[in-house]
């Protein structure tokens, strides 16, 4: 359904994303893992068409997304990494703006917004300016905005950022339900626990390159580890975290 073919993104000569390819099918949740600066968010921006790849293409249902970007985005929902929203709008007004631009009929839009705001626990703050929202509240507005038009493809980039435990649990259930309803879901994160519980398949990215692409179970079996965290550490971590922590503490103490 959604396919990345040999995606490359260069900034000032350096390859931020280097030859990344994968396919996400309807009903599948693909985990996209990587440490900070590994190129996860850049990949997400290319998948949404916000950033043009330096090489490679994104395909949707057998066509390049650039051939009908607007048509593709009508079927796409995205929760970006940074919760940038218009600070002078209220949560409800932001969702109205998004829904209207997506040309949802007024009555249906109103019903969906009301329902989503209630379900996300934002009813009381619905008419307050977003500038007064906490990070978690902004994240909920982003998630509601991404689902407002019932998209076929949903991309989550660090969606649990700022969410409390209950909301994060609810989000994991929601992702499973979306997949069960035939949506193709990409879940980009560095929270290994969440990826392990939500995703059937995982891609691990390190310095822009794919270093692993398999099911969570297969990855664990292949590396003879009991958790994805250990697999991840082996694949991308070339320093000893404990030793680095010790060095940081020592550096501060002797400063």
């Amino acid at each position: 359904m959604l396919e990345a073919r040999h995606l490359v993104k260069r900034y000032s000569g350096s390859r931020v994303v280097d030859d990344v390819s994968f396919v996400v099918q309807p009903g599948e949740v693909l985990g996209y893992l990587g440490p900070n600066g590994s190129g996860k968010s850049t990949t997400v921006q290319m998948l949404t068409g916000l950033v043009e790849p330096s090489g490679g293409h994104v395909w949707f249902e057998g066509r390049r997304i650039t051939s009908d970007l607007v048509g593709y985005r009508r079927r796409l929902g995205c929760v970006p990494e940074e919760a940038h929203l218009y600070p002078f709008l209220s949560g409800r007004e932001h969702l109205e703006l998004i829904g209207r631009l997506r040309e949802l009929p007024s009555r249906r839009l109103d019903e969906r917004i009301t329902a989503l705001l209630e379900l996300f626990g934002l009813s009381d703050a619905a008419l307050q300016p977003i500038s007064g929202y906490s990070k978690g509240m902004r994240q909920k507005v982003l998630i509601a905005g991404a689902l407002l038009h019932d998209p076929d493809v949903v991309i989550f980039d660090e969606p649990e950022s700022g969410l409390d435990v209950t909301a994060a649990l609810m989000l994991r259930h929601l992702i499973r339900i979306l997949a069960a309803r035939g949506k193709a879901v990409i879940y980009s994160s560095h929270v290994l626990e969440a990826v392990e519980k939500v995703c059937a398949r995982v891609i691990v990215l390190h310095r822009g390159k794919v270093v692993a692409d398999d099911s969570v179970t297969a990855l664990r079996a292949l590396r003879s580890h009991t958790s994805l965290e250990q697999v991840f550490a082996e694949l991308v971590s070339h320093v000893d975290p404990e030793r680095t922590a010790q060095a940081i503490a020592d550096a501060v103490a002797h400063a």
Partner: protein
């Protein structure tokens, strides 16, 4: 560590000073130092040029007359005092958010081991430095040059000239300080009274003060002249209640009779009569200035004390987070929103453009400021136009000056809208609009145009309608109102036929059109004269009125039809976003 405190204090003061001059109202796309340098240079050069122009009357006369010079010098004092007071007040309003410790300051400085008193002192020092810099730049050249030019042709000593300089410096400085402190006092007292509700009110109060001060600034030329007579009547409450007259009086008391006491050359009889009359005017002004001059220091001390106490009161604890009414998500659309969606904004894309425009113009500080300045110009012109129309003798027919005022008001509104729509509503948030963009700009832009008419044209022309009803018949006034709305619609359609940014969404690179303002104003004057002549002819009869409205309606509809056929959209309107998205991506990386 006794030596550490001064350096920390200096560092904090510089930090706060940068924050005062680096805000979106002054320099949305430039660095603070550049903005400050340009601003101060403009003040210095403007002060010098104006002083030289005003000094011409004293220098170019072949027969200098001390009493006439002295009387004119009092007139000049009002100009300098008023400009100093209003400009310093405007500076304070523009630096609004930097006038107190805000939540960002609290978040950054709060956890650091810095005594709160040190932070508060640094904030006050930064404000004092800003006010002092503007005062010196604005009043420095006139303080040095104006007294010299006033006595250049007369035998004044250094001491006498120095006394005039001192009077000028004290009066204009005190007036400027009064203006700055009054704004600060209004801000801090309101903040103290409102507590947690302050953030919800702050930007609105700022926009209101910009509107009031800019309008007052633009209207000041109409209040100049006959200052000695007004000083002589200082017991009249209208004079006594005017702060500018306090500082003119202070100036007069400090300058005393220096100029009038100078010996001029022998004068012919006709000029001697004029000189004697001027001496009497000066004498009466001098007598009337005494009581008011005493009010000036009290006013400065009072505004300073109130501002300082309120500031310290508010600074004793961290800034409050915004609080707004908690209302449920189930609350339905307001009657206004319901009416608009049922009538002029029926499709989702039009609704998106319509409501986004209204909310951006009403709530975003830079957009509101751009509109407030334009509205101030418009209101000043309207006040002058209505004032002139009121002075016309009854029975002189339709006051053309009143009819032309509406066209000038439209020009001002369009200039404000043009500037506002070139400012992105919030650059980092544009991704959300881009991802949900319907691929056709027409609906969104149609919504923007309708929002400008409903949100600006209807209420602003409504204000003018009140004045129109006193000078025109009800039918003429309403027809004139309708003509104004139609002209605004036509102007907006014509604007969007040309190359345009995607309103509130395209990046800063679209740039400012401030350089074109004089040409725009000239064009507006010519258009105003032509339109008012046509309107004056048409409104004399019912047939003429109907014909004019029909013609304008047809012209508007023709432009709408033309725009819908040819005026965009492109195949993919998303390229209109491109500049800022590249920029945002680069910044993020």
């Amino acid at each position: 560590m006794p030596d550490a405190t001064p350096s920390r204090s200096g560092l904090l003061t510089r930090h706060f000073l940068t924050r005062l001059i680096d805000n979106d109202l002054v320099s949305p796309d430039a660095d603070a130092h550049k903005g400050a340098s340009v601003g101060l240079a403009m003040l210095l050069s403007a002060g010098a040029v104006v002083t030289m122009l005003m000094g011409g009357q004293y220098i170019t006369t072949p027969l200098p007359m001390p009493a006439v010079n002295a009387a004119n010098y009092i007139d000049d004092a009002l100009i300098y005092v008023t400009v100093s007071m209003l400009l310093l007040a405007i500076v304070a309003v523009v630096a609004w958010d930097g006038l107190a410790l805000d939540t960002r300051d609290e978040a950054i400085l709060g956890p650091l081991p810095i005594p709160r008193s040190l932070i508060v002192r640094a904030k006050l020092s930064a404000m004092a430095a800003l006010a002092a810099a503007v005062l010196v730049a604005l009043n420095g050249p006139p303080t040095l040059l104006h007294p010299i030019s006033a006595v250049a042709m007369l035998p004044a000593t250094f001491a006498q000239t120095g006394r005039l300089m001192l009077a000028h410096a004290v009066a204009t400085g005190a007036a400027g300080l009064f203006g700055f402190c009054t704004v600060l006092a209004v801000r801090e007292v309101t903040r103290a009274l409102l507590g947690a509700w302050w953030p919800a009110v702050s930007a609105r109060l700022q926009a209101f003060l910009i509107l009031v001060l800019a309008t007052a600034f633009l209207l000041t030329p109409s209040f100049f002249g006959n200052v000695p007579e007004r000083l002589a009547a200082s017991s009249d409450w209208r004079v006594a209640a005017n702060p500018t007259m306090w500082f003119v009086s202070l100036h007069q008391m400090l300058a005393g009779t220096v100029i009038v006491d100078l010996r001029g050359p022998p004068l012919p009889r006709r000029l001697r009569v004029e000189e004697d009359r001027a001496a009497e005017r000066h004498q009466r002004a001098q007598a009337g200035a005494g009581p008011l001059a005493a009010v000036a220091p009290v006013g400065v001390a009072g505004s300073f004390a109130v501002a300082l106490v309120a500031f310290l009161w508010n600074a004793r604890r961290p800034a409050a987070r915004a609080r707004t009414p908690r209302r449920g998500a189930r609350q339905g659309a307001t009657p206004f929103a319901w009416l608009m969606t049922a009538t002029i904004a029926r499709t989702p894309a039009v609704q998106a453009g319509f409501f986004f425009t209204l909310r951006t113009l009403a709530r975003s500080v830079p957009h509101r400021a751009a509109l407030a300045v334009a509205a101030a110009f418009g209101l000043a012109l309207a006040t002058i136009g209505v004032g002139r129309a009121l002075r016309l003798a009854p029975g002189t027919g339709l006051p053309q000056v009143l009819l032309g005022t509406q066209t000038l008001l439209i020009a001002c509104l369009l200039a404000g809208v043009e500037q506002a729509m070139r400012l992105p509503a919030h650059l980092p948030a544009s991704w959300s609009v881009r991802l949900s963009w319907p691929g056709d700009a027409r609906g969104f832009i149609a919504g923007v145009k309708r929002a400008v008419v409903v949100g600006l044209g209807v209420p602003v022309f409504g204000l003018l309608l009140i004045a129109d009803l006193t000078l025109l018949t009800p039918v003429q006034a309403i027809a004139h109102y309708a003509v104004g709305i139609l002209l605004l619609l036509i102007a907006l359609e014509a604007r969007f036929l040309a190359e345009h940014p995607l309103p509130f969404l395209t990046a800063y690179s679209a740039g400012s059109r401030i350089k074109a303002a004089p040409l725009w104003f000239l064009a507006a004057l010519i258009a105003g004269a032509i339109v008012s002549a046509i309107e004056a002819a048409a409104l004399r009869s019912v047939v003429g009125t109907i014909t004019l409205i029909v013609v304008l309606t047809m012209g508007w509809r023709a432009l709408v039809w033309h725009w819908q056929r040819t005026g965009a959209p492109r195949e993919d309107d998303l390229d209109l976003f491109q500049p800022q998205l590249d920029e945002a991506t680069t910044l993020k990386l």
